[in-house]
Structures are given as structure tokens and as C-alpha cells.
């Protein structure tokens, strides 16, 4: 059953009926879902959630869809892993990795698209669309296939071939657009406005789509034994993920499922695209847009739509921060996570780990405090960022060649010494 009763403007508060719209017609502010929390409170319980499916749809009561006909490809309930090896490196004694890179299309975008596709079907759409440079394209294409919807994926024409394949395999119509980022962005906005029969997941479906990110917050709380973490380190692109994880945890508290949330939220950006971190440092609530120049392309949004709301949380939740790190530290972060915990993440994960290290070095984490680092995408999506690290030792197909080239004892010894 859907408990979403209306949409409301985050700026002026004007209410609208549930519909595929995303901006307020009065002030052009973004629209957000209004829920009947009293009714949800009567319906939800820890036991009901525990008895639900082992996917993000166990939290269907808190999503703006009916949920009985969810477009579900097995997203969510991803592992929350105790990261003792990495924690030892950074001096954090209670570190956890939320590994959302193991979702069906290998990123957290499956969560938001699962909600958007479900809602699109409820509205009667037969076409699902998005504009993407990677993760979102794959998620939309996969859910479009599962939902038997016509699917359109717009990409910049210079996108790496591997990323095109990652979406094309699901059978969407892939449209490669010539032009720079702004050209492609403007075209996609105009196409979305002109084609009201399309469910453009992050435009006219955005109020519903973005709610899917709340499930990351719910899961972490449940996996920690119905307790919000003391610290959360979250990558920031538009800022939506940061705000929705916070919202999800606070909804649990509002519904009495957990105690008050005292989580310190830490936003992570790359130096090459850090408008939110810069505004936080300047103690501002508005950002100065930037032209992105970083290897962390999945976070490269120069004028983030949810920056204001992100900064409000970061300034209000005591002890929260927004920081950034340079590209070499991002690569180092990818390596460290892989070599200590066996998890290969994309550049956005490198941003999280490098910012985590920076926070630890700054003494932000007290002994015993739980720290959750959110890893949102798989490393195979951004191999180009770390391909210089692959330097195999070439040998002939003989035992003697192997023994001449490799000192096995030294190799084992060096690994033991570093652990």
C-alpha cells in the first residue's frame, strides 16, 4: 500500500496531487513526497520489515509506490562489512563498509531506478529514459528490460565503449549525442520537456526516483542492529544521496523504530569538482558552480541541484563535514580498499575512502564510534583510472623462468610485513 499522499514544494510548501511532475509551478522549487506518517506508523514494525523480502522492497511502506508490482531485479540488502584491516590502517576501530557495488548493475543507482520504474508503470508510462555517463544508464536499461518498457538512454558520443556496452546489453535504444556536456544536458532537458509520454527518471520522475536512496539509510540502521551509525561518509554529486540517507535514518527515528539520530554526516567530493565542500568551508549555503576536472566522473556535477539541502544538513547536524581530496588520493583510496578489504570500487568509492582517511587523520572519529563508508559503485566501471597499476611479470612457460623472475618468499614476506 502506498502512503504517499501528495507532493509538496520544498521551497514554498505548495501541495500538488501525486503526478509525474518535479517542479513547483508557483516558484519552480523542487517537489518532494508528502507521506502519511501516522498511517505508516500504524503499519510498520521491525518485525514486519525483518519478514519482508531480502531486497530494498522490504521498506516498501516508506517508498512512494504501491510496491506490490515493484520492478525488482534484486536490488538492495547489500553487505555491511566490518572493515578491520582498513580500520587498522586509518586508526578507526569500528569501521564498516556498506558495499552497494554488488547491486544487480553494480551501483546504488539500481535503488533509485527501481522506484522510478515502478512508479512509471503505475502512472501508465511505457517509456523509460535517462541521460547518463555510466551507472544510471545501466540501471535504467536493466529495469526497462525487466519492466518490458521501451527504454531510451542518452549518452555523450565520446563515452568509453565499455560503459556503452554496460547499458546496451539490456537492449535499450542508446542515443549518442555529439557536443560538449552543456549541449547534451540542454538537449536532454528539452527532450524531457517536449515528450511528456516519457518517464525520464531523474526529471519528471525525480521526486519518486530520489526516494530510493533512503533505503541505503534504512539498511545500514537495520544491519547495525537498529541503530544509526555515529558517522556516515557519503559521496556527493548532486547531493541527493547525502540528503536521502539522512532522511531515511530520521524517518526511522520519527516512526519510533530507533532512537534519535545523532549521526555526523560527512560529504565526500573530489578536489576537481568540489563546489559543496568549498561552500561548506566558506560557511555558505549556496555554491559557486564549477567546471568539473576530476577522474571521479560519476560525481562530476558542477552545479549540484541539492547542494543547498546538503549544506543545511551538514551545518545543522553537529560535527558533520564536507571535504574533498585530489585525484592521486582517490586512486590510492581505490587501492587501499581493494588491498585491505578485497573490495574493488569505482572512483566515487576512492573519493569516499580518501576522504575517510583525511577525516581519520584530522581526529574526527573517537574510539568505539561506528563509522560507515558508503561504497556506491564497482571498480570495473572505471578501470581506466587505475589501469596503470596493472604491471604483471612476464615469464616464459617454464618453471625455471618463473623461479628466475619471482621471489615467492619475498612476495609472501612483504605481504605479511604490511599486514
Amino acid at each position: 500500500m502506498a502512503y504517499a499522499s501528495a507532493l509538496h514544494c520544498r521551497e514554498c510548501g505548495n501541495e500538488y496531487p501525486i503526478a509525474p511532475i518535479h517542479v513547483c509551478e508557483w516558484c519552480f522549487g523542487p517537489l518532494e513526497i508528502t507521506y502519511d506518517y501516522d498511517a505508516i506508523g500504524d503499519a510498520i514494525s521491525r518485525e514486519k520489515i525483518k519478514d519482508g523480502p531480502l531486497t530494498m522492497w522490504r521498506y516498501a511502506d516508506l517508498l512512494p509506490v504501491d510496491g506490490e508490482n515493484a520492478v525488482d531485479i534484486g536490488t538492495g540488502m547489500t553487505p555491511l562489512l566490518k572493515a578491520d584491516n582498513l580500520g587498522r590502517e586509518f586508526g578507526i576501530d569500528n569501521l564498516w563498509i556498506k558495499n552497494d557495488a554488488v547491486n544487480p548493475t553494480y551501483s546504488f543507482k539500481d535503488r533509485v531506478v527501481s522506484v522510478a520504474a515502478t512508479k512509471a508503470l503505475e502512472f501508465g508510462f511505457d517509456t523509460l529514459a535517462c541521460a547518463s555517463t555510466g551507472n544510471l544508464a545501466g540501471a535504467v536499461a536493466a529495469h526497462g528490460a525487466k519492466a518490458n518498457m521501451r527504454t531510451l538512454v542518452f549518452i555523450p558520443s565520446d563515452l568509453e565503449h565499455g560503459k556503452v556496452v554496460g547499458a546496451a546489453i539490456y537492449g535499450p535504444t542508446v542515443v549518442a549525442v555529439d557536443g560538449n556536456y552543456d549541449d547534451v544536458n540542454r538537449l536532454c532537458s528539452e527532450l524531457a520537456d517536449a515528450n511528456e509520454s516519457w518517464a525520464f527518471v531523474n526529471i519528471n520522475m525525480r521526486p519518486y526516483y530520489s526516494e530510493g536512496s533512503k533505503t541505503l539509510g534504512y539498511e545500514v540502521v537495520e544491519q547495525l542492529g537498529w541503530k544509526a551509525p555515529d558517522h556516515a561518509v557519503v559521496p556527493i554529486a548532486s547531493g541527493s544521496l547525502f540528503t536521502k540517507i539522512w532522511k531515511g535514518m530520521n524517518e526511522f527515528a520519527q516512526l519510533g523504530l530507533i532512537d534519535d539520530v545523532r549521526t555526523k554526516m560527512h560529504g565526500a567530493q573530489a578536489d576537481g569538482c568540489s563546489p559543496v565542500a568549498q561552500a561548506f568551508a566558506d560557511e555558505q549555503l549556496h555554491v559557486k558552480p564549477v567546471v568539473p576536472d576530476t577522474i571521479a566522473k560519476s560525481l562530476a556535477i558542477g552545479n549540484p541541484a541539492d547542494a543547498y539541502y546538503t549544506l543545511k544538513i551538514a551545518q545543522q547536524a553537529e560535527g558533520s563535514t564536507v571535504g574533498s581530496t585530489p585525484d592521486p588520493a582517490i586512486v590510492e583510496g581505490i587501492q587501499m580498499l581493494a588491498q585491505t578489504e578485497g573490495i574493488f570500487t569505482e572512483t566515487a568509492g576512492g573519493v569516499v575512502i580518501s576522504n575517510l582517511k583525511k577525516l581519520a587523520e584530522a581526529g574526527r572519529f573517537q574510539k568505539g564510534e561506528s563509522v560507515v563508508a558508503f561504497i556506491t559503485g564497482n571498480g570495473l566501471k572505471t578501470v581506466e583510472a587505475v589501469q596503470h597499476l596493472a604491471n604483471p611479470v612476464n615469464i616464459n612457460a617454464t618453471v625455471s623462468s618463473f623461479e628466475e623472475s619471482i621471489d615467492v618468499e619475498a612476495t609472501v614476506g612483504s605481504k605479511s610485513a604490511s599486514s
Binding site: S132, S189, A192, H286, P289, L299, N303
Partner: protein
């Protein structure tokens, strides 16, 4: 004729330039400010432009040429 909604972002000296006045004066366009926030160092305006498509394109290209950032109302819709 068409109506287009855009978000203009101004930084530094651009804040004191009468860009929106010039759009209305030099192009066959009716401008309508719907929401705005202006600070000493940065400001943004959500602007509705009413006119011929080609004329709106020309006006926005002129504003971009002045260094004003022009985004669709939807913002950055290309996600990673």
C-alpha cells in the same frame, strides 16, 4: 513562440551587470524572474523567457558569452 525556463548563475562582477534588462531590451523576449537569490559573491535567478525559439537561443548564447552560467531549470540531468 515558446516559453523556456532557465537558471542563470552570476559570479563576481557579473552580479552588478544588468544582464536580464539587456536580454529584454536587445532581444525580442519577455523576461520574467520567478525566483532568485543574490549574495555579494554569487547569485542565481530562475528566469522564464517568452519569445521565438531562435531568439531565446540567441539571447542565452549572448548571456553565456558574458560569462553567465546558463543551466536548464532541471539542472544537471546527465548523471554518472
Amino acid at each position: 513562440m515558446a516559453i523556456r525556463r532557465v537558471r542563470l548563475t552570476f559570479e563576481g562582477d557579473q552580479i552588478t551587470d544588468p544582464v536580464i534588462y539587456q536580454i529584454g531590451k536587445d532581444f525580442e523576449i519577455i523576461t520574467n524572474i520567478r525566483r532568485a537569490e543574490v549574495h555579494a559573491d554569487v547569485g542565481w535567478v530562475i528566469l522564464e523567457l517568452d519569445g521565438a525559439e531562435a531568439e531565446i537561443d540567441l539571447a542565452l548564447a549572448w548571456a553565456s558569452g558574458k560569462g553567465v552560467r546558463v543551466d536548464p531549470l532541471s539542472g544537471n540531468v546527465i548523471e554518472g
